[in-house]
């Protein structure tokens, strides 16, 4: 049993009791979400967590394990979502469209990540951050301008294969008090994909390749001196990260059956991902899961709490303005800066050192 677990988790066990409990709780909660937390909003929150786990883990591959900051993660996320959206709109709903869209999106992401990597990583890693920022901004503009193709600002609404659409039902009879419809099938479809992708990324970072990335992160000069070609490894890491982000984008499109620039490409999502990785714990992959779980739940429910606080402070206008739910990013930003200073290893790092 233990050996098998070791194998599945690529010998990278949580190494902290609290963390293990948290992870098991997260997996159980996500696995049983449709039955334990009924209702459309709860299911959407759970699906968003699944998607964000993959997206954030893909970013952690680059930021946490390779030590370079990209601001184009949402560009690849968007490419994945647009791949599914455009193919499903043009070819009609079906698995063929999903397949074609996914392959095209992965190919585009591969080429873009390769180009950006070659242009910037051979000079300095710091160039990479600036160039990805510029390329992502340009891509966002392009996506909203090519409206014949992408639906512009309005985005695209499309249908999924029948078994994944809400109208499909397994039977009239509810099972465990829940009618199994296409929504739930779709949820479990995403659940399986998220688990597979998560374990794949865990496998990658614990492979010799992943160890080399960590060596480069710790000391670029030394890694180069031992004979590892830093540019090659960094570019590979950025390509892998882009491909996983593309897959996460495809998951998003399959779930929402809609895609537009604000849902997948916006810079706010990029900032969210950055915050989740840092708060969850850079360079741990598990941090992505814990961080995404906490963040998405907080984003969906804590804002209501902030509204209560803001209403309570309505007598003092500046305090009310600070506590307004619209300013929730302000508090996240403060939390983010503090966590970079005081616990740069994030929640997971903290838990692992606390023995």
């Amino acid at each position: 049993m233990n050996a098998m677990l070791n194998k599945v988790l690529s010998n990278d066990l949580p190494r902290s009791k609290v963390l293990a409990v948290l992870l098991i709780a997260l997996v159980v909660a996500l696995a049983l979400a449709p039955f334990v937390f009924p209702g459309a909003k709860a299911l959407s929150v759970a699906a968003k967590i699944l998607i964000f786990i993959v997206l954030v883990a893909s970013f952690d591959l680059l930021l946490g394990y390779t030590g370079i900051v990209s601001f184009a993660q949402t560009m690849f996320f968007g490419i994945g979502a647009y791949g599914i959206a455009i193919a499903s709109t043009r070819m009609g709903p079906g698995w063929g469209a999903i397949f074609v869209g996914l392959v095209a999106a992965l190919a585009l992401s591969f080429v873009l990540a390769l180009l950006v990597g070659l242009f910037s990583l051979r000079v300095r890693a710091i160039f990479f951050s600036m160039i990805t920022l510029a390329v992502a901004a340009a891509f966002q503009t392009l996506a909203s301008q090519l409206s014949d193709f992408t639906g512009g600002e309005d985005g695209l609404t499309f249908k999924m294969p029948e078994i994944l659409s809400p109208a499909w039902q397994l039977s009239e009879e509810p099972i465990l008090g829940i009618t199994i419809d296409g929504r739930i099938v779709c949820y479990y479809f995403l659940f399986v994909i998220a688990v597979v992708l998560f374990l794949a990324m865990l496998r990658i970072v614990n492979s010799p390749f992943g160890r080399t990335l960590q060596a480069i992160r710790e000391n670029e000069f030394r890694a180069e001196a031992i004979g590892y070609r830093v540019v090659y490894f960094r570019t590979m890491s950025s390509i892998l990260s882009a491909l996983f982000a593309t897959l996460a984008g495809a998951m998003l499109a399959i779930w929402l059956r809609y895609n537009g620039p604000d849902t997948s490409l916006s810079f706010e999502i990029m900032l969210d991902v950055l915050l989740i990785v840092v708060i969850g714990g850079m360079g741990t992959i598990y941090g992505a899961a814990i961080g995404a779980g906490i963040f998405v739940v907080a984003q969906s429910y804590l804002q209501d709490l902030l509204k209560l606080a803001s209403d309570a402070a309505s007598g003092v206008s500046w305090l009310a303005a600070l506590l307004s739910p619209d300013r929730w990013l302000l508090w996240l930003g403060v939390l983010f800066v503090l966590s970079v200073y005081y616990f740069p290893t994030g929640i997971v790092g903290r838990l692992r050192h606390q023995k």
């Binding site: 951050s129 600036m130 160039i131 901004a137 302000l330 970079v340």
Partner: protein, 328 residues
């Protein structure tokens, strides 16, 4: 900033007139070309004002400030408050009255941006010297906080920033219509560049800054406190970003809290083209980006932002470190 004329690398400098001449046949009409060129130069000078501080900060201390955009937005928003309270002067037809409103707005914006820059350096940047990864993360965090604070103070919506009365409209040179404000922007930009050039090339402080960019440890070992110099450069850089923000706001005639992040993208392209740390490079990069944006905005409007990225890629193919790479 190289005074030795024989050593000076003229090729990058020649790129600016070269770009203007190459596109001329595509545009066709000479007057349109003149209008676009002046607009491009004006935009380029504003971008240069903003980018100069960022590139010096990087050159001197190896600090890349992703939060630079906050000072742009801050300057512009301060200007809306100052100009809004001086409606008598801005509505007057006399250019002198207008200047009496715009100059204080610029000075106050620079002071506020400089003061916030001082705090930003102390609390955000100082703890993470020498660690690029944390610098990028932290300054990005500072950017988020700054932008949200602007939303708290001025509200999240777009605020109009109309040009003062006498600065509106165009003057005509032959058939070419040239907006007055663009000429003013060019004049202010050239003035800032001249002062910057004078300080860097002709004063003791400038000498130390240039020496610090070349070799920080050497300057320190000669007994100069480079940290203090750096704080000064950071504050001036922030103030210049604030000034650039006022000018950018007037150029766009409106301000939004997200403007800092938007301009940031252009600034990064500029300092990558120019070579991180080089002021002259930043000027060339800014002019190229400004011209390119206006030419493509006229010829193929949809490709405006992409053309700048293509420009950057082309330059990086030619010189991977930017046109004026520092020998580091």
């Amino acid at each position: 900033m190289n005074n030795n004329m024989t050593d000076f690398d003229w090729k990058p400098l020649a790129l600016v007139p070269l770009l203007a001449l190459i596109v001329a046949p595509f545009i066709g009409s000479g007057s349109t070309w003149l209008t676009l060129t002046v607009a491009g130069l004006a935009m380029g000078m504003i971008i240069f004002i903003i980018a100069s501080g960022l590139t010096l900060v990087f050159g001197l201390m190896d600090v890349l400030n992703f939060g630079h955009g906050v000072f742009i937005a801050l300057g512009a928003f301060v200007a809306t408050s100052v100009l809004g309270s001086m409606a008598d002067y801005t509505n007057s037809d006399s250019l002198v009255d207008n200047m009496l409103a715009v100059l204080p707005a610029m000075v106050i914006a620079m002071m506020v941006a400089g003061a916030v820059g001082l705090a930003f350096e102390r609390f955000i940047v100082r703890p993470v010297y020498g660690n690029h990864l944390k610098q990028i993360l932290i300054t990005m965090g500072g950017m988020i906080i700054g932008e949200e604070m602007i939303k708290v103070i001025w509200g999240p919506l777009q605020i109009p920033l109309p040009l003062p009365q006498a600065m509106r409209g165009s003057i005509f040179i032959g058939d070419a219509a040239i907006e007055k404000y663009r000429l003013i922007a060019v004049v202010v930009g050239v003035a800032v560049f001249a002062v910057l050039w004078w300080v860097l090339a002709r004063t003791k402080v400038g000498l130390l800054i240039r020496a610090g960019v070349q070799d920080r440890e050497m300057v320190e070992s000669l007994g100069y406190r480079i940290k203090r110099l750096f704080i000064g450069v950071f504050v001036v850089g922030s103030a210049l970003a604030g000034l650039g923000g006022v000018m950018w706001g007037l150029y766009q005639q409106s301000v939004v809290p997200q403007m800092g992040a938007q301009v940031n993208v252009l600034i990064f392209i500029v300092i990558i083209i120019g070579g991180l740390g080089s002021t002259t490079g930043a000027l060339i990069g800014a002019l190229l980006v400004g011209l390119m944006a206006n030419y493509t905005g006229f010829l193929v409007p949809k490709a405006a932002l992409f053309s700048n990225i293509a420009l950057m890629m082309a330059i990086l193919l030619w010189r991977p470190q930017g046109v004026y790479a520092l020998s580091k």
